[in-house]
């Protein structure tokens, strides 16, 4: 009972249908990537999950209950929707203290989450002077105050430097490894490829895909192998005979489908053909994402 359940969620602002009959669930022990182009309705959905916005239709429950019915919300859900949402004149310590006290959490939790996010040294500094990366850490520290089983982050790596991105990524992974349910939104497929176990893809407020990362890779052109050899013509014949489909790639290479890299290697050894390259091609997740969402981006750029 530690999951987020979204059922038939719909949000309408005037005539704009921002979220349209969306259903998915977030499971514990994994990072669920919540992916979609800008304006797809990710943030609005997250706001509805934690009760900041009221759904026009449908329901969201966390741990089987509506968010506003949680007796001590911070112990069940930690949510970071906007890292810049701190009062610049308040110190990191006092910001966290007020949140902890509002949920009856002991003061020592403030020190603990500051330590876990590496902010002990700046606890007494005003948050207004923090870099974006430090603000992200402060925001994450706040989500951890109540040691919740569910964590929600909206675009946590936006605007961060590579080191900050890496830190957040590793942090998400470690939270999931502790058995927590982690929901992370992003408009960057490449980022999700490195972080998420499961993907929920939306576009124009509608669900486009809800699948494991491995399934997505498989479903989108996984399984081609790039082969390079001195005599591509004769090896292509052997490959076709062994059941593969071969087409010509760049610079005399062969692109093979229907055979695994291992099978192609064995085949080359059997026929005594020296290979200069044998590379299984992973589907580009970026391509898969573009393919999935091409009909649903808000403003499509023309190809020049």
């Amino acid at each position: 009972m530690t999951t987020i359940e979204v059922r038939g969620l719909t949000k309408r602002y005037g005539s704009d249908l921002v979220v349209d009959d969306l259903s998915f669930s977030v499971e514990p022990g994994q990072v669920t990537g919540f992916l979609g182009p800008n304006g797809a309705g990710k943030s609005t959905t997250m706001k509805m999950i934690i009760g900041l916005a009221a759904p026009t239709r449908g329901s969201v429950t966390v741990g089987g209950r509506q968010y506003r019915d949680l007796p001590v919300p911070l112990t069940e859900v930690g949510a970071l929707l906007d890292a810049s949402a701190v009062h610049g004149a308040r110190t990191a310590y006092n910001h966290l203290l007020a949140l902890a006290v509002s949920n009856g959490l002991p003061k020592r939790r403030v020190g603990e989450v500051l330590a876990r996010t590496g902010l002990e040294g700046v606890a007494g500094k005003r948050a207004g002077g923090f870099s974006l990366g430090m603000r992200q850490r402060l925001g994450i520290a706040a989500t951890l105050l109540g040691d919740p089983r569910i964590l929600i982050f909206d675009e946590p790596v936006n605007g961060l430097d590579p080191e900050g991105i890496r830190w957040i990524r590793d942090f998400m992974r470690s939270l999931a490894a502790e058995g927590r349910a982690v929901l992370v939104s992003s408009h960057l497929m490449s980022e999700m490829a490195l972080t998420a176990d499961h993907l929920v893809v939306i576009g124009r407020g509608r669900l486009i895909a809800d699948m494991g990362m491995a399934d997505l890779m498989h479903a989108n052109g996984d399984g081609t192998v790039l082969v390079r050899t001195a005599d591509p013509g004769s090896f292509a014949y052997h490959l076709t005979a062994a059941g593969g489909t071969v087409r010509d790639g760049l610079e005399g290479s062969l692109v093979v489908t229907g055979l695994s890299g291992e099978e192609i290697g064995k085949l080359a050894a059997y026929h005594g053909v020296p290979l200069s390259e044998l590379t299984p091609q992973r589907a580009s997740l970026e391509d898969a994402f573009m393919e999935l969402t091409k009909d649903s981006v808000e403003y499509q750029g023309a190809v020049v």
Binding site: G51, Y67, R68, P73, D82, A85, V86, G88, A98, L99
Partner: protein, 254 residues
């Protein structure tokens, strides 16, 4: 209680809170000093009939006119600073019961307004009487008729303004809009009240700076024979605004 404690931590952890409170006292007592220094000329220039209604207490408490604006700023910021920074999202994630959150904010802001306002009223009274005593003008003692009632009523008046500011801040969500509205209520409407139709006088009897301010006087005023009723009317009006604030705060998306 947790929410009230959390709101108090938030308020006390901002330097701007203490700057505003300091500002309240510097400005408030400064105006008391100047207005009571001017009392000498004013008193001796009067006719005997006017001297009979000389009100040294009311004179020393006139500083409420500026104090109500400073206290209003404090009350407005308790709400609007969170909307401006987006912190309201984090706050509501931690305290999703919105009535509880707004009640906590209202309690903390009103308590600060009550304590600061009451201390200012006493300080203004004593300072003002001391200045007038030195300036050879008739002055009042704390035990004189209606003096204590005026001072305590003054504190309650300022508390009501603090609460009104919380309501305005919640409804407007922006500092500038809420502050403009407050200035309109406490300064502009009273300045223009003479131009308005007579049926509006019924409302003005309970309006800040107008009827509700009758509480600051110690000399009987034929227009306001029962100043506590006027002050009570102000409180009722403020509670009506606050009720509207609770309704919109519950219903709006953040």
């Amino acid at each position: 209680m947790r929410s009230v404690h959390a709101e108090w931590i938030k308020l006390r952890s901002l330097r701007s809170t203490w700057y505003t409170v300091s500002c309240l006292f510097v400005l408030g007592l400064g105006i008391t000093t100047l207005s009571t220094l001017g009392a000498n000329k004013d008193y001796w220039g009067r006719t005997d009939a006017d001297r009979a209604v000389w009100d040294p207490t009311g004179r020393s408490l006139k500083t409420f006119i500026v104090a109500q604006l400073v206290i209003g700023v404090l009350g407005i910021l308790v709400v609007t600073s969170e909307f401006a920074s987006g912190l309201m999202q984090t706050t509501l994630a931690a305290t999703p019961r919105r009535n509880k959150l707004l009640a906590a904010k209202a309690i903390v802001a009103t308590a600060v307004a009550a304590v600061a306002g009451q201390v200012l009223m006493f300080a203004s009274f004593f300072l003002g009487q001391a200045v007038m005593s030195a300036g050879d003008v008739p002055y009042a003692h704390l035990g004189d008729h209606r003096v204590l009632a005026s001072i305590v009523g003054g504190g309650l008046y300022l508390s009501a303004i603090g609460l009104l500011a919380v309501g305005l801040g919640t409804i407007m969500r922006a500092t500038a809009g809420a502050l403009t509205t407050l200035v309109g209520v406490v300064f502009l409407v009273p300045a223009l009240s003479g131009l308005f139709p007579s049926w509006m006088q019924g409302i003005f009897d309970f309006w800040p700076t107008l009827g509700a301010a009758a509480i600051f006087g110690t000399v009987p005023d034929a227009n306001f024979p029962h100043p506590w009723v006027n002050l009570g009317g102000l409180w009722l009006g403020v509670l009506a605004i606050l009720t509207a604030a609770f309704v919109v705060f519950r219903r709006r998306d953040v």
